[in-house]
Symmetry: C2
C-alpha cells in the first residue's frame, strides 16, 4: 500500500536508481520502516509498468549499469492524491506483549531477561537518534520548511524510544514485585510495586 508512495516521495526532488533508494531508505524511512532491496526493485518495475515512473538506463564502464527512475506527471498526480487521503494509523504489533499475556511462574525469568534485553536495545537506539538530532538539528525552532518532515520523523523516533524504555522499566518492576496471589496479599501492600523509583526520561512526562 504505502511502499509505492514512499518511493514516489523519494523521487520528488530528483531521479534515483533502485540502489540509491535502498541506501536512502536505510538512513531515513528505514529507521522506522525496514524495506529490503528486493522489494524496492519489484516496486520500481510495477510503478514503471503503471506509468507513474519512467526509467532510463545509464551506461557505466568499470561498474554495473544503473537504471534511473523519475516521476511522470501521472506519478506526480497520484502522489498528490495520496497525500490528501486520510492516513491509516500504524498497526503496532508488539510480540513482547503477546509473550506477557502468557506470563506464568515458570516463564517469568525468561520474560524478565527479555525485557532487560529490549530495554538495552532501545537505550542504544535512543542514543543513536539523539546524536543524529544534535548533529543535524541543533536548532529545531528555525528550520527550513523542506527539512521539517525529516525532523519530525526523527523526533517521533526519539519520543517512541523514550516511551518504550519507560515502559520496559515499568514492566520489569511489575514482574519483580511480590506476587499478590492469595498468600502474599498482605505483604504486597507495603512494597508498592509500580511506585518504585526508576529513572525518569525527560519526555516520558504523562505518567
Amino acid at each position: 500500500m504505502a511502499l509505492s508512495h514512499a518511493i514516489l516521495v523519494s523521487l520528488v526532488d530528483r531521479p534515483h536508481s533502485g540502489y540509491d533508494l535502498a541506501k536512502r531508505f536505510d538512513q531515513t524511512v528505514g529507521f522506522f520502516w525496514p524495506v529490503s532491496h528486493q522489494q524496492i526493485y519489484q516496486e520500481l518495475h510495477k510503478l514503471a509498468r503503471v506509468g507513474w515512473l519512467r526509467s532510463q538506463m545509464v551506461e557505466q564502464s568499470e561498474r554495473p549499469n544503473r537504471i534511473v527512475y523519475e516521476l511522470t506527471d501521472d506519478g506526480r498526480h497520484a502522489l498528490d492524491a495520496w497525500l490528501a487521503e486520510p492516513t491509516d494509523p500504524p498497526s503496532f504489533k508488539e510480540e513482547m506483549l503477546v509473550k506477557l499475556f502468557a506470563l506464568a511462574p515458570g516463564n517469568q525469568p525468561a520474560l524478565l531477561a527479555e525485557l532487560e534485553r529490549r530495554r538495552a536495545m532501545h537505550v542504544a537506539r535512543l542514543a543513536r537518534y539523539e546524536s543524529i538530532m544534535a548533529e543535524h538539528y541543533p536548532e529545531p525552532a528555525r528550520l527550513q520548511a523542506r527539512r521539517r518532515g525529516r525532523y519530525l520523523g526523527l523526533r517521533m523516533g526519539i519520543l517512541n524510544e523514550r516511551t518504550t524504555i519507560a515502559w520496559c522499566e515499568e514492566a520489569i518492576a511489575c514482574l519483580h514485585a511480590a506476587p499478590a496471589d492469595a498468600a502474599d496479599a498482605a505483604e504486597v501492600a507495603s512494597t508498592t510495586a509500580l511506585a518504585s523509583p526508576r529513572a525518569r526520561t525527560p519526555d516520558a512526562r504523562h505518567d
Copy 2:
C-alpha cells in the same frame, strides 16, 4: 510468525473456538494487533495440521456447530520454546511520516488537516484505554501475577497514545511556524554555500 503464537497463548487456559478467539482478540490483543477472522480460521487449520492443536466438533441445535481447539503437549512445548527466544522489536510503519517527507507549500494544508484528524483519533483512543484501566485495574500496585501481562499491554497502549498525541501537537506547531525559507531564501543560500555539510557527513541524509 507471531499470530500462531498469539493463538497458542490464548488457548493456554482453556479451549476456544475460532469465533471465540476472534472476539477475544478484538478486546485484548486486537487493540494493538488487528487480526481478521479469516486469518484466525486459517491459522487454526494450520496449527491443527502441524499437531500443536487438537480440534473437537461441538454440535449445537438452533445454532451453527462450533469447532473447539485445545493445546496438545507438542503445542505447549512449542509455546514454551518460543517464549524463551529473543523478541523482535516491533517494526513501526507510520504512513504519516512518509507524507511529511513530501512536505511542500502546496500540500501543507492537507497535511495539517490530517495531523489534526489523527490527533483527535488518538485522544479518543486514549480515553477508551483509560476508562478500561480505571474499571479493570483501579489498583495496579496489587495485581495477581496472571493479570500483569494484560495490565502491561494496556499500559503500553496508554503510553503510546500519549506519546503520539504529544507528537501530533508538536508536528502541528512545527508546520504552523513561520517558514524559514521563502522570506529568508538569501540567508539560506549563503549558509549552505559557506558550510557545505555534505562533504563531512557522507552518510547523513538528515540535512
